[in-house]
Amino acid sequence: MALMELTAFETAQKVKTGERSAREVLEAALERIAAVDGRPGTLDYGELTDEDRAKVHAFITLTAEKAIEQAEAVDAKVKAGEEVGPLAGVPLSVKDIFTVKGTPSTAASRILANFTAPYTATAVRRLEAAGAINLGKVNLDEFTYGSSSESSAFQPSTRNPWDTDRVPGGSSGGSTASVAAGEAMLSLGTDTAGSIRQPAAFCGVVGLKPTYGRVSRYGLIAFGSSLDCPGPVAANVRDAALMLGAMAGADPHDSTAAKVPVPDYMASLEKGVKGMRIGLSPDYMRITFPDPETGDLVEQELPEEIKAATLHAAEVLAKMGAEIVEDVPIPNTAYGIPAYFVISRVEAASNLHRYDGVKYGYRTKSDYRDLKEMYRKTRAEGFGLQPKLRILMGMYVSAAQYAEQYYARALRIRSLIRSDFDAAFALEGEYRLDALLTPTTPTTAFKMADVFGDSVLMQYADQLTVPANHAGIPGISLPGGIASDGLPIGVQLLAPDFAEETLFQAGQAYETATADEEWRKIKPEVLR
């Protein structure tokens, strides 16, 4: 079996025993990147060629030399009989929204294109300490603002390995595409409205949004500070569990990183779902989209294939011993996106005011009279349209005269969304769920440029994932089938606060039970 076909868990075992070297694994990863990735995203990209359109373009910055040093250090430890971590020799990609000391940390924005981070994010530091080999930074929507990865200032933007005319989803599109294309075994992403789970569904990989506070945000370039969650992207559930275990836990650098014990996820992985109560909600089987003519929001049924994949997952879990609880009401799901339009924009506007061309990052090259003109020119040239749109909306809905009407109301509706999940998961409640099973996305991956520019339609791609961000609860997207368009479908499991262990157990049971299904044998286009 080719090295990049191994799982992260198998790879670490082989590296630890000396059966394979970390250097060998790294060479295999670099070979795969050379074969499928094409040119990296840059600011001065020129015209797209036919060859560009057939490649993945996951990476912005490949740090091969640093990776070689890390791999050689792991191999030296193995040779010396020293302890190596649980991710020994596992190739990792990192969404370029995390700082990594001495490397460009761009947020896929021109305004940070020249920024070299002076420190490393806690999640990255912990993964590297566990033996992961950091290949470099992968592309995303600018400052994570999008659901297709197309808004990156670094083009060509990432394309879907299953069909390179399609988007990989976003904003962690570089992360999920790099894992789907076998360029990395693991990737570190972030999820603010579904930015790990939605692209994981589009690219046919596993993506976990942990509970808010499970993983430190130190070194994560902030978007929505009350919503952002770093999380793992992997090819399978076991690898995602291995990765979360290596990076979760309290951090003195982030007061919101919770002091909640991190379980041994690997120890409980095979416990199965016998006796688990898994819910289905009619509120996740209806979707809302803006009417293309009028812009009015129209309720629709979920596409049949996506609904069927979710119901199939329920049948599989029932056969494995779970009790399926139907008709669980989560009635405020439909308000997730409207509330997110307010809350995330206010937080984004607050976070983006720091980019002013004074302390770090881009400063205009043209002449300016004074500070105010420098600000204006720097921000006009440095930010793309999507960050500008978010700043303007955030300022509007938080302005003194509108804050009660918009911001305060959205925060109260967030309480309602949270209370829906509290009722579903309450130990003494009517439903007593261990997990809720839903589709991850309302569609499969859409075509490049089809949605980009329509900020409302793009946002509604996250309608089934965003409620978990408002509530803070963990969620996992699992590959759930292949649709008739040849593209992956994702199914999602949601659980109470800090119950990632439940998600891994249920996910592992589902993965094992469906291992021989025909759709699991289909590979992404770029690997055929």
């Binding site: 808010y212 500008k388 809905v397 309480s415």
Partner: protein
């Protein structure tokens, strides 16, 4: 129906945000803002009892789960020159800020 964000209001927001747009960009951004507000107005359909609290976070923080704030203690920076090297304009280890325009307050 008139747009909630009129061209005049848009210009005011642009000024506050310290941006500058060409007419095409301005038209796109104003249209998208108004479209997003259409979606946001869905929130008005939600009946809200007086006792529904504002949620700044989804997950509740308790004394046990909260890391708490670090002690307010001065510690030397390990790499000040590395940080200063990121600034667009530095003179003798001071970050240079362009002239600040003077505005007479009424």
């Amino acid at each position: 129906m008139t747009d909630e964000i009129s061209p005049e209001l848009f210009e005011h927001l642009v000024d506050l945000a310290a941006f500058a747009f060409d007419p095409e960009e301005a038209e796109y951004l104003r249209r998208e803002l108004n479209n997003q507000l259409k979606a946001i107005h869905q929130l008005e359909n939600v009946p809200l009892a007086d006792d529904v609290p504002l949620a700044s976070h989804g997950v509740t923080y308790t004394a046990e789960s909260c890391t708490g704030l670090r002690a307010d203690e001065w510690k030397p920076c390990e790499n000040p020159d590395e940080i200063l090297s990121q600034a667009p304009q530095v003179d003798h280890r001071y970050i240079i800020v362009p002239d600040i325009p003077h505005t007479k307050l009424d």
